[in-house]
Protein backbone atom coordinates (compact mmCIF):
# COMPACT_ATOMS: atom_id res chain seq x y z
CA UNK A 1 0.00 0.00 0.00
CA UNK A 2 1.21 3.50 -0.81
CA UNK A 3 2.83 5.16 2.22
CA UNK A 4 0.84 8.37 1.69
CA UNK A 5 -2.37 6.37 1.70
CA UNK A 6 -1.52 4.69 4.98
CA UNK A 7 -0.48 8.04 6.39
CA UNK A 8 -3.92 9.49 5.61
CA UNK A 9 -6.02 6.46 6.42
CA UNK A 10 -4.58 4.76 9.48
CA UNK A 11 -4.97 0.94 9.65
CA UNK A 12 -8.47 -0.39 9.86
CA UNK A 13 -10.24 2.90 9.10
CA UNK A 14 -12.57 1.51 6.48
CA UNK A 15 -13.11 -1.79 8.27
CA UNK A 16 -14.05 -0.26 11.60
CA UNK A 17 -17.75 -0.60 12.43
CA UNK A 18 -17.54 2.53 14.55
CA UNK A 19 -16.35 4.44 11.51
CA UNK A 20 -19.29 3.11 9.50
CA UNK A 21 -21.77 4.27 12.10
CA UNK A 22 -19.99 7.60 12.42
CA UNK A 23 -20.05 8.07 8.65
CA UNK A 24 -23.78 7.41 8.36
CA UNK A 25 -24.71 9.38 11.48
CA UNK A 26 -22.36 12.24 10.57
CA UNK A 27 -23.60 12.35 6.99
CA UNK A 28 -27.27 12.53 7.92
CA UNK A 29 -26.64 15.08 10.64
CA UNK A 30 -24.44 17.23 8.41
CA UNK A 31 -27.02 17.38 5.62
CA UNK A 32 -30.03 18.04 7.86
CA UNK A 33 -28.11 20.70 9.79
CA UNK A 34 -26.89 22.40 6.64
CA UNK A 35 -30.36 22.63 5.07
CA UNK A 36 -32.10 23.94 8.18
CA UNK A 37 -29.05 26.07 8.96
CA UNK A 38 -29.39 28.09 5.75
CA UNK A 39 -32.88 29.17 6.83
CA UNK A 40 -31.74 29.70 10.42
CA UNK A 41 -29.03 32.11 9.32
CA UNK A 42 -31.34 33.93 6.88
CA UNK A 43 -34.04 34.31 9.52
CA UNK A 44 -31.50 35.52 12.07
CA UNK A 45 -32.44 32.75 14.50
CA UNK A 46 -28.97 31.42 15.32
CA UNK A 47 -29.60 32.26 18.94
CA UNK A 48 -32.84 30.29 18.86
CA UNK A 49 -30.99 27.36 17.29
CA UNK A 50 -28.43 27.45 20.06
CA UNK A 51 -31.13 27.60 22.73
CA UNK A 52 -32.75 24.53 21.18
CA UNK A 53 -29.47 22.64 21.46
CA UNK A 54 -29.43 23.41 25.19
CA UNK A 55 -33.01 22.20 25.46
CA UNK A 56 -32.13 18.99 23.68
CA UNK A 57 -29.15 18.58 26.04
CA UNK A 58 -31.61 18.67 28.93
CA UNK A 59 -33.68 16.07 27.08
CA UNK A 60 -30.68 13.86 26.33
CA UNK A 61 -29.46 13.95 29.92
CA UNK A 62 -32.94 13.24 31.23
CA UNK A 63 -33.14 10.24 28.89
CA UNK A 64 -29.81 8.92 30.22
CA UNK A 65 -31.02 9.35 33.77
CA UNK A 66 -34.19 7.33 33.30
CA UNK A 67 -32.63 4.87 30.88
CA UNK A 68 -34.21 5.91 27.60
CA UNK A 69 -32.47 6.18 24.25
CA UNK A 70 -30.65 9.54 24.16
CA UNK A 71 -31.94 10.28 20.66
CA UNK A 72 -35.51 10.23 21.96
CA UNK A 73 -34.56 12.66 24.71
CA UNK A 74 -32.57 14.99 22.47
CA UNK A 75 -35.27 15.25 19.81
CA UNK A 76 -38.30 14.97 22.05
CA UNK A 77 -37.48 17.76 24.41
CA UNK A 78 -36.10 19.84 21.55
CA UNK A 79 -39.50 19.71 19.85
CA UNK A 80 -41.25 20.64 23.08
CA UNK A 81 -38.81 23.54 23.53
CA UNK A 82 -39.43 24.76 19.99
CA UNK A 83 -43.19 24.72 20.59
CA UNK A 84 -42.82 26.64 23.85
CA UNK A 85 -40.51 29.22 22.25
CA UNK A 86 -42.99 29.66 19.42
CA UNK A 87 -45.88 30.09 21.83
CA UNK A 88 -44.32 32.62 24.15
CA UNK A 89 -42.16 34.65 21.89
CA UNK A 90 -42.82 34.65 18.21
CA UNK A 91 -45.11 37.64 18.03
CA UNK A 92 -42.52 40.30 18.58
CA UNK A 93 -38.91 40.32 17.52
CA UNK A 94 -37.68 41.51 20.90
CA UNK A 95 -39.96 39.05 22.63
CA UNK A 96 -38.30 36.32 20.61
CA UNK A 97 -34.88 37.11 22.02
CA UNK A 98 -36.17 37.24 25.57
CA UNK A 99 -38.13 34.01 25.25
CA UNK A 100 -35.08 32.33 23.75
CA UNK A 101 -32.82 33.50 26.55
CA UNK A 102 -35.18 32.36 29.27
CA UNK A 103 -35.69 28.93 27.68
CA UNK A 104 -31.92 28.57 27.20
CA UNK A 105 -31.13 29.37 30.83
CA UNK A 106 -33.74 26.97 32.15
CA UNK A 107 -32.49 24.22 29.85
CA UNK A 108 -28.88 24.53 31.01
CA UNK A 109 -30.04 24.40 34.62
CA UNK A 110 -32.00 21.21 33.96
CA UNK A 111 -29.05 19.69 32.11
CA UNK A 112 -26.81 20.41 35.10
CA UNK A 113 -29.33 18.75 37.42
CA UNK A 114 -29.85 15.66 35.27
CA UNK A 115 -26.14 15.16 34.60
CA UNK A 116 -25.37 15.53 38.30
CA UNK A 117 -27.98 12.94 39.19
CA UNK A 118 -26.77 10.58 36.46
CA UNK A 119 -23.11 10.76 37.41
CA UNK A 120 -23.68 10.52 41.17
CA UNK A 121 -25.89 7.49 40.72
CA UNK A 122 -22.82 6.00 39.08
CA UNK A 123 -24.59 4.33 36.20
CA UNK A 124 -22.66 5.98 33.39
CA UNK A 125 -19.22 7.50 33.60
CA UNK A 126 -19.06 9.26 30.29
CA UNK A 127 -22.46 11.00 30.56
CA UNK A 128 -21.16 14.56 30.60
CA UNK A 129 -18.86 13.91 27.66
CA UNK A 130 -21.63 12.16 25.75
CA UNK A 131 -24.29 14.85 26.21
CA UNK A 132 -22.17 17.93 25.82
CA UNK A 133 -19.66 16.72 23.24
CA UNK A 134 -21.44 13.97 21.36
CA UNK A 135 -21.08 10.28 20.82
CA UNK A 136 -20.59 9.86 17.11
CA UNK A 137 -18.19 6.91 17.60
CA UNK A 138 -20.03 5.25 20.45
CA UNK A 139 -23.63 5.42 19.28
CA UNK A 140 -25.09 1.96 18.82
CA UNK A 141 -26.06 0.89 15.32
CA UNK A 142 -29.62 0.40 16.56
CA UNK A 143 -30.25 4.14 16.61
CA UNK A 144 -29.34 4.61 12.95
CA UNK A 145 -32.84 3.88 11.56
CA UNK A 146 -34.40 6.36 13.99
CA UNK A 147 -31.82 8.98 13.02
CA UNK A 148 -32.44 8.39 9.31
CA UNK A 149 -36.22 8.63 9.67
CA UNK A 150 -36.04 11.81 11.73
CA UNK A 151 -33.63 13.29 9.22
CA UNK A 152 -35.97 12.54 6.33
CA UNK A 153 -38.91 14.04 8.23
CA UNK A 154 -36.99 17.25 8.91
CA UNK A 155 -35.79 17.56 5.32
CA UNK A 156 -39.26 16.78 3.99
CA UNK A 157 -40.83 19.48 6.14
CA UNK A 158 -38.33 22.07 5.00
CA UNK A 159 -38.81 21.07 1.37
CA UNK A 160 -42.58 21.34 1.71
CA UNK A 161 -42.69 24.80 3.25
CA UNK A 162 -39.52 26.03 1.53
CA UNK A 163 -41.00 28.77 -0.67
CA UNK A 164 -43.58 30.15 1.77
CA UNK A 165 -40.86 30.07 4.44
CA UNK A 166 -38.52 32.01 2.20
CA UNK A 167 -41.22 34.53 1.31
CA UNK A 168 -42.15 35.07 4.95
CA UNK A 169 -38.46 35.43 5.79
CA UNK A 170 -38.13 38.17 3.18
CA UNK A 171 -41.37 39.90 4.21
CA UNK A 172 -44.01 38.48 6.55
CA UNK A 173 -46.40 41.16 5.26
CA UNK A 174 -46.13 40.14 1.62
CA UNK A 175 -46.38 36.48 2.59
CA UNK A 176 -49.50 37.06 4.68
CA UNK A 177 -51.09 39.11 1.88
CA UNK A 178 -50.48 36.19 -0.49
CA UNK A 179 -52.34 33.89 1.87
CA UNK A 180 -49.33 32.21 3.47
CA UNK A 181 -50.09 31.08 7.05
CA UNK A 182 -46.93 32.80 8.28
CA UNK A 183 -47.25 31.60 11.86
CA UNK A 184 -47.81 27.96 10.94
CA UNK A 185 -45.00 27.94 8.40
CA UNK A 186 -42.68 29.42 11.04
CA UNK A 187 -43.72 26.75 13.53
CA UNK A 188 -43.08 23.93 11.06
CA UNK A 189 -39.64 25.34 10.44
CA UNK A 190 -38.97 25.55 14.20
CA UNK A 191 -39.97 21.91 14.64
CA UNK A 192 -37.66 20.87 11.79
CA UNK A 193 -34.94 22.91 13.46
CA UNK A 194 -35.55 21.12 16.76
CA UNK A 195 -35.20 17.72 15.07
CA UNK A 196 -32.06 18.83 13.28
CA UNK A 197 -30.48 20.20 16.46
CA UNK A 198 -31.47 17.07 18.41
CA UNK A 199 -29.73 14.86 15.86
CA UNK A 200 -26.58 16.93 15.81
CA UNK A 201 -26.55 17.00 19.61
CA UNK A 202 -26.46 13.23 19.47
CA UNK A 203 -23.56 13.25 17.03
CA UNK A 204 -21.32 16.17 18.00
CA UNK A 205 -22.86 17.16 21.33
CA UNK A 206 -25.21 19.86 22.46
CA UNK A 207 -22.46 22.42 22.92
CA UNK A 208 -21.11 22.00 19.40
CA UNK A 209 -24.30 21.40 17.46
CA UNK A 210 -24.68 25.12 16.85
CA UNK A 211 -21.38 25.07 14.97
CA UNK A 212 -22.67 22.38 12.64
CA UNK A 213 -25.95 24.23 12.17
CA UNK A 214 -24.60 27.72 11.59
CA UNK A 215 -21.06 27.21 10.28
CA UNK A 216 -21.61 25.53 6.91
CA UNK A 217 -24.68 27.69 6.21
CA UNK A 218 -22.94 30.94 7.07
CA UNK A 219 -19.94 30.02 4.90
CA UNK A 220 -22.24 29.04 2.01
CA UNK A 221 -24.21 32.28 2.20
CA UNK A 222 -20.99 34.19 1.68
CA UNK A 223 -20.22 32.25 -1.46
CA UNK A 224 -23.38 32.46 -3.53
CA UNK A 225 -26.30 34.66 -4.45
CA UNK A 226 -28.89 31.92 -4.69
CA UNK A 227 -30.69 30.06 -1.93
CA UNK A 228 -30.65 26.75 -3.78
CA UNK A 229 -26.90 26.84 -4.33
CA UNK A 230 -26.37 28.03 -0.74
CA UNK A 231 -28.16 24.90 0.47
CA UNK A 232 -26.05 22.69 -1.81
CA UNK A 233 -22.78 24.29 -0.76
CA UNK A 234 -23.72 24.13 2.92
CA UNK A 235 -24.44 20.40 2.60
CA UNK A 236 -21.10 19.86 0.89
CA UNK A 237 -19.20 21.79 3.57
CA UNK A 238 -21.03 19.97 6.36
CA UNK A 239 -20.43 16.52 4.90
CA UNK A 240 -16.77 17.20 4.15
CA UNK A 241 -16.18 18.68 7.61
CA UNK A 242 -17.85 15.73 9.30
CA UNK A 243 -16.00 13.16 7.20
CA UNK A 244 -12.69 14.90 7.71
CA UNK A 245 -13.38 15.21 11.43
CA UNK A 246 -14.11 11.50 11.73
CA UNK A 247 -10.96 10.65 9.79
CA UNK A 248 -8.72 12.95 11.82
CA UNK A 249 -10.17 11.75 15.11
CA UNK A 250 -9.58 8.14 14.06
CA UNK A 251 -6.05 8.93 12.96
CA UNK A 252 -5.30 10.91 16.11
CA UNK A 253 -5.23 7.60 17.99
CA UNK A 254 -2.01 6.80 16.15
CA UNK A 255 -0.41 10.20 16.62
CA UNK A 256 2.44 10.16 19.11
CA UNK A 257 2.80 7.16 21.34
CA UNK A 258 0.20 7.84 23.99
CA UNK A 259 -2.67 6.39 21.92
CA UNK A 260 -5.12 9.01 23.10
CA UNK A 261 -7.85 9.41 20.50
CA UNK A 262 -8.81 13.08 20.37
CA UNK A 263 -12.53 14.00 20.30
CA UNK A 264 -14.13 13.98 16.87
CA UNK A 265 -16.29 17.02 17.66
CA UNK A 266 -13.21 19.15 17.99
CA UNK A 267 -12.00 18.19 14.54
CA UNK A 268 -15.39 18.76 12.89
CA UNK A 269 -15.72 22.19 14.42
CA UNK A 270 -12.12 23.05 13.57
CA UNK A 271 -12.68 22.19 9.90
CA UNK A 272 -15.91 24.24 9.83
CA UNK A 273 -14.19 27.20 11.43
CA UNK A 274 -11.35 27.15 8.92
CA UNK A 275 -13.89 26.84 6.07
CA UNK A 276 -15.84 29.79 7.39
CA UNK A 277 -12.72 31.94 7.54
CA UNK A 278 -11.77 30.87 4.03
CA UNK A 279 -15.26 31.67 2.71
CA UNK A 280 -14.61 35.34 3.41
CA UNK A 281 -11.62 35.40 1.08
CA UNK A 282 -13.44 35.74 -2.28
CA UNK A 283 -15.35 38.76 -1.01
CA UNK A 284 -12.24 40.37 0.44
CA UNK A 285 -10.42 39.74 -2.83
CA UNK A 286 -13.28 41.20 -4.89
CA UNK A 287 -13.36 44.28 -2.63
CA UNK A 288 -9.63 44.80 -3.07
CA UNK A 289 -9.97 44.47 -6.82
CA UNK A 290 -12.95 46.81 -6.93
CA UNK A 291 -11.02 49.40 -4.99
CA UNK A 292 -8.18 49.18 -7.47
CA UNK A 293 -10.50 49.33 -10.44
CA UNK A 294 -12.56 52.16 -9.00
CA UNK A 295 -9.62 54.38 -8.17
CA UNK A 296 -8.69 55.98 -11.53
CA UNK A 297 -12.08 56.71 -13.19
CA UNK A 298 -14.17 58.55 -10.66
CA UNK A 299 -17.34 56.54 -10.09
CA UNK A 300 -20.44 58.34 -8.95
CA UNK A 301 -20.64 58.25 -5.16
CA UNK A 302 -22.94 55.62 -3.80
CA UNK A 303 -25.79 56.48 -1.52
CA UNK A 304 -24.69 56.38 2.06
CA UNK A 305 -26.47 53.20 2.96
CA UNK A 306 -24.35 51.18 5.30
CA UNK A 307 -25.28 48.00 3.50
CA UNK A 308 -23.20 49.06 0.58
CA UNK A 309 -20.14 48.76 2.75
CA UNK A 310 -20.98 45.15 3.46
CA UNK A 311 -21.14 43.94 -0.09
CA UNK A 312 -21.56 40.26 -0.71
CA UNK A 313 -18.98 38.06 -2.31
CA UNK A 314 -18.30 37.33 -5.91
CA UNK A 315 -18.54 40.90 -7.10
CA UNK A 316 -22.09 42.15 -7.40
CA UNK A 317 -20.83 44.68 -9.81
CA UNK A 318 -24.01 44.59 -11.86
CA UNK A 319 -25.70 46.65 -9.17
CA UNK A 320 -24.71 50.14 -10.09
CA UNK A 321 -26.57 52.34 -7.68
Amino acid sequence: MHPLYTAVFEPGFFASPQVHIAAVLGGVVAIVSAVTGVFTVMRGQSFGGHALSDVSAAGGSAALLIGLSPVAGFVGLGIAGAAVMDMIGVRRLRGRDLATGIVLGTAIGLTALFLYLTTTSGATTGAVQQILFGSIFTTSSGTIPAVAILGVVALGSIATVGRPLLLSTVSPDIAAARGVPVRLVGLIYMLALAVSVGLSSLAVGAVLSTALLIGPAAAALRLTRRVASAIGIACLIGVIATGLGVLLAYDSYYWGSSHLGLPVSFFIVAVIFVTYLASGLPAAWARARNREAAAPPLTPPRTARSQHERRGPGGERGSTA
Binding site: T160, G162, R163, T169, G179, V180, R226, V227, R302, A321
Partner: protein, 281 residues
Protein backbone atom coordinates in the same frame (compact mmCIF):
# COMPACT_ATOMS: atom_id res chain seq x y z
CA UNK B 1 -73.23 54.58 -0.12
CA UNK B 2 -72.21 55.43 -3.62
CA UNK B 3 -74.07 55.03 -6.88
CA UNK B 4 -74.33 51.95 -9.01
CA UNK B 5 -71.04 52.71 -10.77
CA UNK B 6 -69.67 50.28 -8.17
CA UNK B 7 -70.05 47.45 -10.66
CA UNK B 8 -67.06 48.88 -12.49
CA UNK B 9 -65.17 49.61 -9.29
CA UNK B 10 -61.98 47.65 -8.64
CA UNK B 11 -62.15 48.44 -4.96
CA UNK B 12 -65.06 49.43 -2.79
CA UNK B 13 -64.52 50.41 0.83
CA UNK B 14 -67.83 50.93 2.57
CA UNK B 15 -68.26 52.36 6.06
CA UNK B 16 -65.16 50.66 7.45
CA UNK B 17 -64.41 51.25 11.12
CA UNK B 18 -61.53 49.79 13.09
CA UNK B 19 -60.80 50.11 16.79
CA UNK B 20 -57.54 48.76 18.17
CA UNK B 21 -57.22 48.32 21.94
CA UNK B 22 -59.98 50.81 22.57
CA UNK B 23 -58.67 53.47 20.21
CA UNK B 24 -60.65 54.37 17.10
CA UNK B 25 -58.18 54.02 14.19
CA UNK B 26 -60.64 54.23 11.30
CA UNK B 27 -64.05 55.82 11.61
CA UNK B 28 -66.65 55.16 8.91
CA UNK B 29 -64.29 55.26 5.93
CA UNK B 30 -65.88 54.89 2.48
CA UNK B 31 -64.52 55.31 -1.02
CA UNK B 32 -64.27 53.49 -4.34
CA UNK B 33 -61.52 53.13 -6.89
CA UNK B 34 -62.23 52.54 -10.56
CA UNK B 35 -60.20 50.49 -13.02
CA UNK B 36 -56.83 52.02 -13.83
CA UNK B 37 -57.28 54.95 -11.49
CA UNK B 38 -54.29 56.39 -9.65
CA UNK B 39 -55.37 57.24 -6.13
CA UNK B 40 -53.26 58.84 -3.43
CA UNK B 41 -53.98 57.83 0.15
CA UNK B 42 -52.79 60.95 1.90
CA UNK B 43 -52.63 61.75 5.56
CA UNK B 44 -50.32 62.59 8.43
CA UNK B 45 -48.47 59.92 10.40
CA UNK B 46 -50.83 57.94 12.57
CA UNK B 47 -53.91 58.83 10.51
CA UNK B 48 -54.62 55.14 9.86
CA UNK B 49 -53.19 54.70 6.34
CA UNK B 50 -51.41 51.43 7.05
CA UNK B 51 -54.41 50.08 8.97
CA UNK B 52 -56.68 50.91 6.05
CA UNK B 53 -54.41 49.12 3.59
CA UNK B 54 -54.23 46.12 5.91
CA UNK B 55 -58.02 46.02 6.12
CA UNK B 56 -58.22 46.07 2.32
CA UNK B 57 -55.72 43.20 2.16
CA UNK B 58 -57.59 41.19 4.78
CA UNK B 59 -54.65 41.27 7.20
CA UNK B 60 -56.65 43.35 9.67
CA UNK B 61 -60.24 42.74 10.71
CA UNK B 62 -62.54 45.69 10.54
CA UNK B 63 -65.05 46.11 13.32
CA UNK B 64 -67.66 47.30 10.89
CA UNK B 65 -68.04 47.87 7.17
CA UNK B 66 -67.23 45.89 4.05
CA UNK B 67 -64.50 45.76 1.46
CA UNK B 68 -65.31 44.57 -2.05
CA UNK B 69 -62.75 43.75 -4.72
CA UNK B 70 -64.01 43.63 -8.30
CA UNK B 71 -67.54 43.66 -6.95
CA UNK B 72 -67.06 40.60 -4.72
CA UNK B 73 -66.34 40.44 -1.00
CA UNK B 74 -62.61 40.51 -0.46
CA UNK B 75 -60.99 37.15 0.26
CA UNK B 76 -57.53 36.49 1.57
CA UNK B 77 -55.00 35.40 -1.05
CA UNK B 78 -56.69 37.64 -3.54
CA UNK B 79 -54.72 37.45 -6.75
CA UNK B 80 -56.37 40.66 -7.90
CA UNK B 81 -54.42 42.70 -5.35
CA UNK B 82 -50.67 43.31 -5.49
CA UNK B 83 -49.02 44.63 -2.36
CA UNK B 84 -45.82 46.50 -1.59
CA UNK B 85 -45.57 46.88 2.19
CA UNK B 86 -43.80 49.59 4.09
CA UNK B 87 -40.24 48.93 5.24
CA UNK B 88 -39.22 45.64 3.73
CA UNK B 89 -35.89 45.06 5.42
CA UNK B 90 -33.82 43.27 2.85
CA UNK B 91 -30.64 41.97 4.42
CA UNK B 92 -27.55 42.24 2.21
CA UNK B 93 -26.43 38.84 3.48
CA UNK B 94 -29.54 37.18 2.11
CA UNK B 95 -28.74 35.20 -1.01
CA UNK B 96 -31.70 36.48 -2.98
CA UNK B 97 -31.24 38.20 -6.30
CA UNK B 98 -33.70 40.73 -7.63
CA UNK B 99 -35.05 38.15 -10.08
CA UNK B 100 -35.51 35.60 -7.25
CA UNK B 101 -37.64 38.05 -5.29
CA UNK B 102 -39.82 38.69 -8.34
CA UNK B 103 -40.19 34.93 -8.86
CA UNK B 104 -41.31 34.61 -5.23
CA UNK B 105 -44.06 37.07 -6.08
CA UNK B 106 -45.31 34.53 -8.62
CA UNK B 107 -45.17 31.32 -6.59
CA UNK B 108 -43.93 32.13 -3.08
CA UNK B 109 -47.20 30.96 -1.61
CA UNK B 110 -46.94 27.50 -3.16
CA UNK B 111 -45.77 24.43 -1.26
CA UNK B 112 -43.24 21.85 -2.32
CA UNK B 113 -40.01 22.12 -4.24
CA UNK B 114 -40.00 24.54 -7.17
CA UNK B 115 -39.48 22.96 -10.53
CA UNK B 116 -37.63 24.86 -13.23
CA UNK B 117 -40.00 26.65 -15.59
CA UNK B 118 -39.17 28.59 -18.71
CA UNK B 119 -42.56 30.26 -18.52
CA UNK B 120 -41.90 31.67 -15.06
CA UNK B 121 -38.43 32.82 -16.10
CA UNK B 122 -39.98 34.69 -19.02
CA UNK B 123 -42.64 36.29 -16.81
CA UNK B 124 -39.94 37.42 -14.37
CA UNK B 125 -37.93 38.90 -17.24
CA UNK B 126 -40.98 40.81 -18.48
CA UNK B 127 -41.69 42.23 -15.04
CA UNK B 128 -38.08 43.31 -14.53
CA UNK B 129 -38.28 44.98 -17.92
CA UNK B 130 -41.56 46.71 -17.04
CA UNK B 131 -40.00 48.36 -13.98
CA UNK B 132 -36.68 48.99 -15.71
CA UNK B 133 -34.77 46.74 -13.32
CA UNK B 134 -32.96 44.48 -15.78
CA UNK B 135 -29.64 46.14 -15.04
CA UNK B 136 -29.55 44.82 -11.50
CA UNK B 137 -31.61 41.66 -11.96
CA UNK B 138 -28.74 39.46 -10.79
CA UNK B 139 -27.59 41.58 -7.85
CA UNK B 140 -28.53 40.69 -4.30
CA UNK B 141 -31.59 42.76 -3.43
CA UNK B 142 -30.06 43.71 -0.09
CA UNK B 143 -27.26 45.49 -1.91
CA UNK B 144 -29.53 47.66 -4.05
CA UNK B 145 -30.41 51.27 -3.32
CA UNK B 146 -33.79 52.20 -1.88
CA UNK B 147 -35.23 53.18 -5.27
CA UNK B 148 -33.93 50.02 -6.92
CA UNK B 149 -35.44 47.89 -4.16
CA UNK B 150 -38.80 49.63 -4.66
CA UNK B 151 -38.72 48.75 -8.35
CA UNK B 152 -38.03 45.11 -7.56
CA UNK B 153 -40.82 45.05 -4.96
CA UNK B 154 -43.22 46.58 -7.48
CA UNK B 155 -42.26 43.94 -10.05
CA UNK B 156 -42.82 41.30 -7.36
CA UNK B 157 -46.31 42.67 -6.77
CA UNK B 158 -47.14 42.97 -10.48
CA UNK B 159 -46.19 39.46 -11.53
CA UNK B 160 -49.46 37.97 -10.31
CA UNK B 161 -51.20 40.32 -12.77
CA UNK B 162 -53.29 42.21 -10.19
CA UNK B 163 -56.02 44.71 -11.02
CA UNK B 164 -55.19 46.77 -7.97
CA UNK B 165 -51.78 47.66 -6.61
CA UNK B 166 -51.48 48.77 -2.98
CA UNK B 167 -48.31 50.53 -1.92
CA UNK B 168 -47.66 51.56 1.67
CA UNK B 169 -45.43 54.65 1.85
CA UNK B 170 -43.24 53.59 -1.08
CA UNK B 171 -41.66 57.04 -1.22
CA UNK B 172 -40.53 57.11 2.40
CA UNK B 173 -36.74 57.09 2.67
CA UNK B 174 -36.28 57.80 -1.04
CA UNK B 175 -34.41 60.83 -2.27
CA UNK B 176 -36.37 63.30 -4.40
CA UNK B 177 -35.18 61.97 -7.73
CA UNK B 178 -35.84 58.31 -6.93
CA UNK B 179 -39.25 59.16 -5.66
CA UNK B 180 -40.06 61.06 -8.87
CA UNK B 181 -38.91 58.04 -10.86
CA UNK B 182 -41.04 55.63 -8.84
CA UNK B 183 -44.10 57.87 -9.23
CA UNK B 184 -43.78 58.15 -12.98
CA UNK B 185 -43.10 54.43 -13.25
CA UNK B 186 -46.31 53.68 -11.33
CA UNK B 187 -48.28 56.19 -13.36
CA UNK B 188 -47.07 54.56 -16.59
CA UNK B 189 -47.87 51.03 -15.40
CA UNK B 190 -51.27 52.13 -14.17
CA UNK B 191 -52.08 53.78 -17.48
CA UNK B 192 -50.64 51.14 -19.82
CA UNK B 193 -51.88 48.05 -18.00
CA UNK B 194 -55.09 49.53 -16.59
CA UNK B 195 -54.03 48.68 -13.04
CA UNK B 196 -55.61 50.76 -10.30
CA UNK B 197 -53.01 52.14 -7.88
CA UNK B 198 -53.65 53.08 -4.26
CA UNK B 199 -50.51 54.63 -2.85
CA UNK B 200 -50.15 55.94 0.68
CA UNK B 201 -47.98 58.95 1.40
CA UNK B 202 -47.83 61.70 3.97
CA UNK B 203 -46.75 64.24 1.37
CA UNK B 204 -49.20 65.10 -1.41
CA UNK B 205 -47.12 67.30 -3.70
CA UNK B 206 -45.03 64.69 -5.51
CA UNK B 207 -48.27 62.93 -6.46
CA UNK B 208 -50.21 65.95 -7.74
CA UNK B 209 -49.25 65.52 -11.42
CA UNK B 210 -50.32 61.87 -11.62
CA UNK B 211 -53.17 61.51 -9.15
CA UNK B 212 -56.70 60.97 -10.51
CA UNK B 213 -58.25 60.95 -7.08
CA UNK B 214 -57.30 61.40 -3.49
CA UNK B 215 -58.40 59.72 -0.29
CA UNK B 216 -57.44 62.04 2.53
CA UNK B 217 -57.24 60.46 5.99
CA UNK B 218 -57.07 62.50 9.16
CA UNK B 219 -57.92 61.35 12.66
CA UNK B 220 -59.33 58.11 11.24
CA UNK B 221 -61.86 59.84 8.99
CA UNK B 222 -61.64 60.06 5.23
CA UNK B 223 -62.63 62.43 2.45
CA UNK B 224 -62.31 61.25 -1.12
CA UNK B 225 -62.81 62.57 -4.60
CA UNK B 226 -60.96 64.50 -7.27
CA UNK B 227 -57.95 66.27 -5.77
CA UNK B 228 -59.27 69.79 -6.29
CA UNK B 229 -62.50 68.98 -4.47
CA UNK B 230 -60.90 67.30 -1.46
CA UNK B 231 -57.84 69.38 -0.79
CA UNK B 232 -59.67 72.47 0.37
CA UNK B 233 -59.62 74.29 3.70
CA UNK B 234 -63.27 73.50 4.19
CA UNK B 235 -63.12 69.74 3.66
CA UNK B 236 -59.87 69.24 5.52
CA UNK B 237 -60.95 71.41 8.46
CA UNK B 238 -64.03 69.25 8.84
CA UNK B 239 -61.83 66.15 8.68
CA UNK B 240 -59.26 67.29 11.20
CA UNK B 241 -61.88 68.74 13.49
CA UNK B 242 -60.03 72.02 13.77
CA UNK B 243 -59.23 74.83 11.39
CA UNK B 244 -56.78 73.92 8.68
CA UNK B 245 -55.65 76.10 5.82
CA UNK B 246 -54.85 74.91 2.34
CA UNK B 247 -52.39 77.25 0.64
CA UNK B 248 -51.42 77.12 -3.01
CA UNK B 249 -47.83 78.21 -3.46
CA UNK B 250 -45.99 77.93 -6.79
CA UNK B 251 -48.19 75.09 -8.01
CA UNK B 252 -47.83 73.21 -4.73
CA UNK B 253 -50.25 72.61 -1.93
CA UNK B 254 -49.51 73.37 1.69
CA UNK B 255 -51.77 72.13 4.44
CA UNK B 256 -51.13 74.12 7.60
CA UNK B 257 -52.87 74.30 10.92
CA UNK B 258 -54.96 77.45 11.29
CA UNK B 259 -53.44 80.00 13.63
CA UNK B 260 -55.17 82.75 15.55
CA UNK B 261 -52.75 85.34 14.16
CA UNK B 262 -53.60 84.33 10.62
CA UNK B 263 -57.30 84.25 11.33
CA UNK B 264 -58.33 86.94 8.91
CA UNK B 265 -56.01 86.00 6.03
CA UNK B 266 -57.00 82.37 6.33
CA UNK B 267 -60.67 83.20 6.33
CA UNK B 268 -60.22 85.13 3.09
CA UNK B 269 -58.26 82.29 1.60
CA UNK B 270 -60.91 79.82 2.57
CA UNK B 271 -63.68 81.90 1.19
CA UNK B 272 -61.80 82.17 -2.10
CA UNK B 273 -61.00 78.47 -2.24
CA UNK B 274 -64.51 77.40 -1.30
CA UNK B 275 -66.13 79.28 -4.18
CA UNK B 276 -65.35 76.93 -7.08
CA UNK B 277 -65.21 73.75 -5.04
CA UNK B 278 -68.30 71.62 -4.78
CA UNK B 279 -67.08 69.94 -1.61
CA UNK B 280 -66.73 66.21 -1.40
CA UNK B 281 -66.74 63.72 1.36
Amino acid sequence: MRQQSEAAAVLGVDQVSVALSGRQILDDVSFTIGAGEFTGLIGPNGAGKTTLLRVILGLQRSGRGTVTVLGRPRSLRNQAIGYVPQKVLLDPDMPIRARDLVALGADGHRYGIRLPSAERGEAVRQMLHAVDAERFADARVGNLSGGEQQRVLIAQALISRPRLLLLDEPLANLDLRSSQEIISLLARISREQQIAVLLSAHEINPLLPVMDRVVYLAAGRAASGPTAEVITSEVLSRLYGYRVDVLHVAGRVLVVAGDAADERAAADERAAAALPAAGAG
